[in-house]
């Protein structure tokens, strides 16, 4: 692939894999949420994310030009080829962790999609335009819950603070950029990620302050999705998600 196509492939994978892995994680709640309304909300959020996955991975396959479908990319790659934000693969743990993870990624996704709606590549712009509306709706809910639970009871506050302490280090990589990103930004195809970082910081700091939660300092995480350096959790998730296609290659409904 030319450098430009390779960068485009990576961008489509970053968006699609993040939606896929987060969607898979959130769908694990189906039938287990603390209240029926939350069960339905989580399942609907997962459904939107899987719909977005379909569009992004289809584009990735088209850009790559090797005839791989969205399903091929989802079910027949191994962990090191996934480009999802490492935060997306972190386990559900409890409702607090699930909602905190959702909020931090929703805020990232919203900013990315807002920029990508204006992409010089019409395919990216149309996918982002569709996904942006759904994601704005997700963000409204996850932000509201982070604030209500953080500024809630002693128990809910403690759980949200514990979730933030565990998950915050994984946001280190959110706005990193490489040569490919610079190339896409220069052509107006992808966002200038460095410029998005302060916007994300403002959004997140304001909500976490309203939630009476403290952002942990001095914690970092060495995982980096750009080079396929994931946490151990992704392999376990894929083993569940990909099992059927691995055991019965080509199985269809």
């Amino acid at each position: 692939m030319e450098a430009r196509e390779a960068a485009l492939f990576e961008l489509a994978l970053r968006m699609g894999d993040t939606a896929l892995i987060l969607g898979q994680r959130v769908s694990e709640w189906c039938g287990h949420a603390p209240a029926l309304e939350e069960d339905i909300a989580l399942a609907n959020t997962a459904l939107d994310l899987l719909g977005q996955t379909q569009m992004w991975l289809e584009l990735a396959g088209e850009v790559e030009g090797k005839g791989r479908s969205a399903d091929d990319l989802a079910f027949l790659r191994d962990a090191w080829d996934f480009r999802n934000l490492v935060l997306a693969e972190q386990p559900n743990t409890d409702f607090g962790h699930t909602i905190m993870r959702q909020y931090l990624i929703d805020a990232w996704n919203r900013l990315m999609l807002d920029e990508l709606q204006n992409s010089a590549d019409a395919r990216i712009a149309s996918i982002a335009g569709k996904a942006a509306r759904e994601t704005a709706y997700h963000l409204e809910r996850s932000r509201d819950l982070v604030i209500r639970l953080g500024d809630g009871s002693e128990e809910s506050h403690a759980r949200m603070q514990a979730a933030l302490n565990t998950l915050w280090p994984f946001t280190d990589e959110f706005f990193e950029a490489d040569d490919g990103d610079a190339l896409l930004a220069a052509e107006g195809i992808g966002p200038d990620t460095a410029a998005l970082a302060p916007q994300w910081q403002r959004e997140v700091q304001a909500s976490l302050a309203a939630a009476t939660l403290d952002i942990p300092e001095g914690r970092t995480n060495p995982s980096r999705s750009r080079s396929g350096r994931h946490t151990e959790h992704l392999g376990h998730l894929l083993a569940t998600m990909q099992w059927l296609q691995r055991a019965y290659p080509g199985a269809r409904w």
């Binding site: 339905i40 569709k130 759904e134």
Partner: protein, 157 residues
């Protein structure tokens, strides 16, 4: 192949499609839902352009099958169904007829203000949101404080 003389008019095709119910909310048609963006002849082939509602909505595939079945029943077995993502679907595209049918059916139609205007059962305006999501991707759950009944609201996007 359809003889040019035997070709149905575009308006006629729209009327057929208006007879195809939404699979999850059958009181409104897929035309009421606003997802049929274009009907046109391209040479010998009829092309129906569809914009999906929610990107993960499982009804999308069923809707495409029902459009194909409807057209085939009218002798257009080789019609093409084309998906168009942009501009993205919005609840602004719901028809007036569709909005009225939703309300009669007990689903509050979407409002620009973001919440339902009135309880579809008793008309009460003291309302509270129960959940931002509902039984299908396009709906949320609300409750009327006057009659105390829960009801569904068609989400505004």
């Amino acid at each position: 192949m359809v003889e040019a003389s035997a070709r149905p008019g575009i308006e006629e095709v729209w009327a057929w499609l208006d007879g195809v119910p939404d699979p999850e909310i059958p009181v409104i048609s897929i035309v009421d839902l606003g997802i049929i963006r274009d009907v046109a002849w391209e040479g010998e082939r009829l092309v129906v352009t569809v914009t999906p509602t929610y990107s993960g909505c499982p009804a999308t595939a069923v809707i495409n099958m029902e459009i194909a079945a409807c057209l085939a029943a009218h002798g257009l077995a080789d019609a093409e169904i084309r998906t168009r993502l942009a501009p993205p679907w919005t609840t602004d595209w719901l028809s007036e007829k569709g909005r009225a049918r939703l309300a009669e059916y007990g689903i509050a139609p979407p409002q620009p203000a973001g919440g339902p205007a009135a309880c579809p059962r008793c008309g009460g305006t003291e309302l509270e949101r129960v959940s931002q999501f509902g039984a299908t991707p396009c709906k949320a759950q609300w409750r009327c404080k006057s009659c105390l009944e829960p009801f569904e609201y068609f989400k505004c996007i």
